[in-house]
Amino acid sequence: MTSNDIQRRIPHTNPVLNLIRTGLRRGLISARIQLTTPSEIFGTVVMLAIFIGTLFFMRGSTFAGATVDLGSTGFPGIIAMGTIFGGVMGIVSVLSMDKTNGTLLRSKSVPGGTAGYLIGEITANVINTLVTSVTLLIVGLFLFDGLDFASPARWLLFITVLVLGLVSTLSIGAVLGALMSNPKFMGLVMMPVLGLIAISGIFYPIVALPLWLQGLAQAFPLYWLGLGLRSSLLPDSMAAIEIAGSWRLEWVFIVLGLWAVLGLILAPKLLSRMARRESGSAVAARRKGVAEQWGV
């Protein structure tokens, strides 16, 4: 180095591989923190316990013409709902919190940090959601004897539908999280998700709803995720109470696939736009907004 040169650093190992590895390790740490922090999991556990409890008391009744009780019928929908909540709300809240507390800005100040951060937080979310789904599945298999999960074909179907649903809801969550500049707008995401849960045949067969609501629900991934999971967990005879009297598996894959593609196209662009705009004054402004919101 001569006195007139500024020494530049060049990578001596592959920086992309390094940031992917570091991002995945971040995912493990982050998932462990979230799964072992009581305040983080309390809300999810209570909510799911209430829903399962409700279904548990619906075991006694059946939908007209169905061979399986309403508790078992509704159960796959709880897993679908947990996935949507974990995927959409989970990633939206992590992104908006981390934009406000400066975690994203910190990541941006580190070489390859933004990509590493996103890989890490998405990985953590996948782990959390899978842990939640598998726990639910085990609990459900004990509680609801109308479920049929006794063949490898069903296991494969369950995993495939769950992973596809996770990819589509996560990428939608990433899009919404990137667009949302401030955690005070969480409600704006929460309301449509709750609305979607109400109309997607999660707790009660969708054929009981007016036709226009059935049409609306079928435009979104939640209904199809629920349908796919029901087909993997319920006896085939239960297809009778679905729309068109069929599991329509081809449409499960088409619709979930389309949403996944849409999300995967949009999410990277919006996330990098979000990261590009991140700066100390942006974080300060957001904090001020949150402080005003909470009156502190």
Binding site: R9, I29, L105, K108
Partner: protein
């Protein structure tokens, strides 16, 4: 200009070079033709009233914000297009941070250090924890750290990749005097031992004086003064204020040559002894206030360079 290390001759390429930098938000001009060169090993403090454009300047230099016009070069690259190798050479201590509240210092430092591995051997985490005095808090959640501990961790995170250039944005806001002193020692150590070039913003003039080899004052989107603390104070006034008590009376005298005045004063005090003698020179605070006031009263100064001021 004071330079602490050899090699930072005025001829070497500046670490930071900014010319005619402008930043306009809508109709509001925040930076209005800013020029600044910073050489290797300097510790530069940037002062200025709120809204003078300090944070905007720092954010542009950090590559977090693009300027409206002008040219910026930091470590030989335009910050906004700086690659990861460039990024690995920049350390940033952000303004008040509350990120990673559920992580632990050792865990977080070790995670962040992994990002630097393709470019440099990062500081060993335990050594770094010792350097910033956080050995005991190494496995405590970040949100349980005190303000001063948290700030020292911020510095640890900023230097873990052995940066050539370190930015600190109001690093000691909310520190108690002891924490502030420890923090200053740490910054000096980084500059002396590691040869890091440092740029900081602060509202604390005593801090600017204690830390920096050079002070730039920003106002109205331009640099209105540039020099060492001593140069700035000498430039606004060479007079000293001398006060003493004689025969129960308090006396005061203002002069440029305090030494000879005091010599004569003490030589003539046989009849009635002098007590409580004090000599007070203009402080950096006086200099700062007077420079900013001059600027705000509209006297159109070109960037005052105080290098020529006689000491």
């Amino acid at each position: 200009m004071e330079t602490a290390h050899p090699g930072s001759t005025p001829n070497s390429t500046p670490i930071i070079s900014v010319s005619d930098l402008r930043m306009v938000y809508g109709s509001k001009t925040v930076l209005d033709g800013l020029n600044l060169d910073i050489n290797a090993d300097e510790i530069v403090a940037m002062l200025g009233p709120n809204g003078a454009g300090k944070s905007t300047t720092i954010e542009i230099l950090e590559g977090f914000r693009s300027a409206s016009s002008g040219s910026v070069s930091v470590l030989g690259a335009d910050p906004i297009t700086g690659d990861s190798g460039w990024r690995s050479q920049i350390g940033i201590v952000l303004q008040a941070s509350s990120d990673h509240g559920k992580w632990r210092p050792r865990q977080l430092l070790s995670h962040l250090s992994d990002f630097y591995r393709p470019y440099v051997d990062p500081w060993p985490v335990d050594e770094l924890l010792g350097l910033v005095g956080l050995d005991e808090q190494a496995d405590q959640k970040l949100k349980t750290l005190s303000g001063g501990q948290r700030r020292r961790l911020d510095v640890a995170m900023a230097i873990i990749g052995r940066p050539s250039l370190l930015f600190l944005d109001e690093p000691t806001t909310g520190f108690d005097p002891r924490a502030r002193r420890d923090f200053h020692d740490l910054i000096h150590r980084l500059s002396d031992l590691e040869g890091v070039t440092i740029m900081l913003t602060t509202h604390d003039l005593a801090e600017a004086e204690a830390l920096s080899s050079r002070i730039v004052i920003l106002a109205g989107g331009r640099i209105i003064a540039d020099g060492s603390a001593l140069e700035l104070t000498h430039a606004i006034g060479r007079t000293a204020e001398i006060t003493w008590i004689q025969e129960g009376q308090r006396h005061m005298h203002v002069t440029e040559d305090s030494t000879s005045f005091v010599r004569e004063l003490l030589a003539s005090d046989q009849d009635s002894p002098i007590t409580d003698l004090e000599i007070r020179r203009a402080t950096l605070e006086d200099a700062y206030l007077s420079i900013v006031e001059q600027f705000e009263s509209g006297s159109d100064l070109d960037t005052q360079t105080f290098e020529g001021a006689q000491l």
